[in-house]
């Protein structure tokens, strides 16, 4: 196995992915990711120098439009699925002291 995922890397990935893993899950995730990266390293066999990265298959250009309001007040609708709400707003834990 060429790739070894360190504890620090796993910690960092957890922060980026906003996931909280138990120690056991972390060990498994390290193994899974290392194995997947070993497999992905197959791409290094390909010479891609001079090849532009292709994010879209078709040429895509930005499409401009007038910034006009087309929808009305949808506060009630938007709040329908809120796990917690208060005074017409989403309720979340305290974020500032």
């Amino acid at each position: 196995m060429a790739n070894i995922i360190s504890d620090e890397t796993m910690e960092y990935v957890g922060i980026l992915a906003k996931l909280e893993l138990s120690d056991e899950q972390k060990e498994q995730a390290k193994k899974d990711m290392a194995r997947m990266l070993d497999y992905i390293d197959m791409l290094n066999e390909l010479d891609t120098s001079g090849v532009e990265p292709m994010s879209h298959v078709f040429p895509v250009n930005n499409v401009f439009r007038e910034d006009e309001v087309t929808n009305g007040d949808e506060r009630e609708t938007i709040l329908k699925n809120a796990p917690a709400k208060k005074d017409g707003s989403f309720m979340v834990p305290k974020t500032v002291e």
């Binding site: 990935v13 980026l16 996931l19 090849v51 078709f58 895509v60 979340v92 834990p93």
Partner: protein, 540 residues
């Protein structure tokens, strides 16, 4: 009364969507009767299959009444008016639970409907339920669903494939005449092959992604799953539309797909990639695919093998790109605005993390973490940009192929449906099963699966037809001509459950007769071979 209902169920279970629509227009069957037949079939089949996350009997019955009025007063005249449909549970349906088969959306009732589904509703379709899938469409077996596995109607010890496994199995079991699925790496074409139904993934940008809960946005496309090619063409014609709400929607003026239902392939150039027939492909699948090619040849098509190249590189490129996009797309699930929120947490960030960790399943977390990693600074160039460069090379390989051929023909999967529980233990092995479908998504191409035979275990095989971008009509024509040459395709499970639904049998049998037992080692053995073949090239 009862006899009438029984006859109705038996009739509708075997009908295509277009046949049922015709009978409804001719007043031989009412929309309400079509819905009742579908619901009865669902009731009979669901205990053994679990194709649906949600069945909306009440909503469907109410809708049937409205639709019937519109048919009677001449407002609705289209081919799908009054015909029941199943919608994959990753498409938003206003007021109707939409879970993506994930705990994190266990209670989510969208406040709007996906554009593709709206297009169907405008045509008079009646939604009877939301079909099961791999969680967030990440998987190839429908086993990663938080709401239980779906079983294959041909043999319930086997998976239906995935991720649109619920949609494909529901059509194969006659629960609905047709369904919508979505295809990010083969999620319509592979389960269609495993379930013996016909499925089409359109050119990227043809069907609006608005309201489709995103997995890999540059790859996702919605498409039809049905009993035959004519249905798929008619359904695609209905759901395709330019949509300002989807920034990658393409303005097309050639969406009259049913005009391509022509039984003529004389002079059509068909290429079979030699790599698609190489080691790793089950012999029985190969035989069925080549027999399908022979049918097209006998009808005047020119068929030859060619070297597509880069085939095995599509899988690693895909998993980098799809995981990267997934990690970004799924960051919206944080327990604030909708869906699951953890009960215990200390502060905002802990709430995010716990809600996500408890709400997402293992495969989804695995891909989010991989995606976060390949996008992180220091690894972005080596993994993400490298994968996008590989994608460009794969697109070029297809461009070269389509200079010579009208259609590319091959398998949709290396094997027939594996047994339940065989795939998830080894993710990379499961990913390798996507080898024939994944590059089509990377290149944005249309692809279609049509049933073409059976293996010795009694499981169906599908042949995949791939076209150049915007050339759906060529693959529809080839698929239609093949279908005419192949002859009728039976769905035994649909009739079995219809007999049960009509009261002829007390219970839907757990497995179809004569298909269980024996010959069980075949599948696993082949899958192992496939891994070692790929390992030889890629060095796992």
């Amino acid at each position: 009364m009862r006899e009438g209902k029984e006859r109705m169920i038996m009739q509708t279970a075997s009908m295509t969507a277009l046949e049922l629509g015709r009978k409804i227009r001719q007043r031989e069957i009412s929309a309400a009767e079509a819905v009742e037949a579908s619901l009865a079939q669902i009731e009979a089949a669901e205990p053994s299959l679990n194709c649906f996350v949600t069945v909306d009997g009440e909503g469907a019955r109410a809708k049937a009444e409205k639709i019937q009025k519109a048919i009677d007063d001449g407002t609705l005249t289209g081919p799908l008016a009054g015909v029941p449909v199943g919608i994959k549970d990753n498409m938003c349906t206003e007021g109707l639970l939409t879970t993506c088969s994930s705990k994190i959306l266990y209670n989510f009732k969208p406040t709007y409907t996906a554009e593709a589904v709206l297009n169907l509703e405008r045509a008079g379709a009646i939604i009877v339920g939301k079909t099961n899938m791999d969680e967030f469409a990440m998987g190839s077996t429908t086993e990663t669903s938080a709401f239980g596995v779906t079983r294959n109607p041909w043999n319930t010890e086997h998976v239906p494939g995935g991720s649109s496994g619920g949609s494909c199995a529901a059509v194969a079991a006659g629960e609905v005449p047709y369904a919508l699925g979505s295809d990010t790496g083969g999620s319509i074409r592979q389960p269609s092959s495993f379930c013996g139904v016909t499925g089409l993934k359109p050119t990227y940008g043809t069907v609006s992604r608005y309201g489709l809960i995103a997995y890999g946005s540059s790859l996702d496309q919605i498409g039809p799953i049905a009993k035959d090619v004519s249905d798929c063409a008619a359904i695609l014609e209905t759901i395709a539309s330019y949509d300002r709400k989807d920034s990658t929607s393409v303005k097309r003026t050639d969406c009259d797909f049913t005009s391509a239902l022509v039984d003529d392939v004389k002079g059509l150039k068909i290429g079979i990639p030699s790599d698609y027939l190489a080691a790793g492909l089950d012999e029985e699948v190969k035989t069925a695919i080549l027999k399908a090619a022979d049918v097209l040849k006998s009808k005047g098509a020119q068929v030859e093998e060619f070297d597509l190249s880069l085939v095995e590189y599509a899988i690693p490129a895909y998993y980098v790109i799809a995981s990267a996009e997934a990690s970004s797309n799924l960051s919206r699930f944080d327990g604030v605005k909708y869906g699951y929120r953890a009960e215990q947490y200390e502060g905002l960030h802990s709430m995010y993390k716990r809600s996500r960790s408890e709400g997402f399943g293992e495969e989804v977390k695995r891909r989010i973490m991989l995606g976060s990693f390949v996008l992180s600074s220091g690894y972005y160039d080596a993994y993400y940009l490298k994968a996008l460069r590989t994608k460009a090379l794969i697109k070029q390989a297809f461009d070269r192929a389509f200079e010579k051929y009208d259609v590319i023909l091959g398998p949709a999967a290396p094997t027939t449906a594996p047994k339940l529980g065989e795939s998830l233990a080894d993710p990379i092995k499961m990913y390798l099963g996507d080898i024939y479908t994944i590059s089509v998504n990377l290149a944005g191409l249309p692809g279609m699966t049509v049933p073409c035979g059976m293996d010795s275990k009694g499981l169906p095989v599908g042949v995949q037809l791939i076209g150049d971008c915007f050339q759906e009509k060529k693959i529809i024509r080839a698929a239609y001509a093949y279908e005419q040459g192949r002859g009728p395709w039976e769905l035994p499970a649909a009739m079995r459950f219809a007999r049960a639904a009509g009261g002829g049998e007390k219970d839907g049998p757990k497995t179809s007769a004569g298909q269980t037992g024996g010959n069980e080692t075949n599948c696993a053995g082949k899958a192992d071979e496939h891994v070692s073949a790929a390992a030889g090239k890629g060095g796992i």
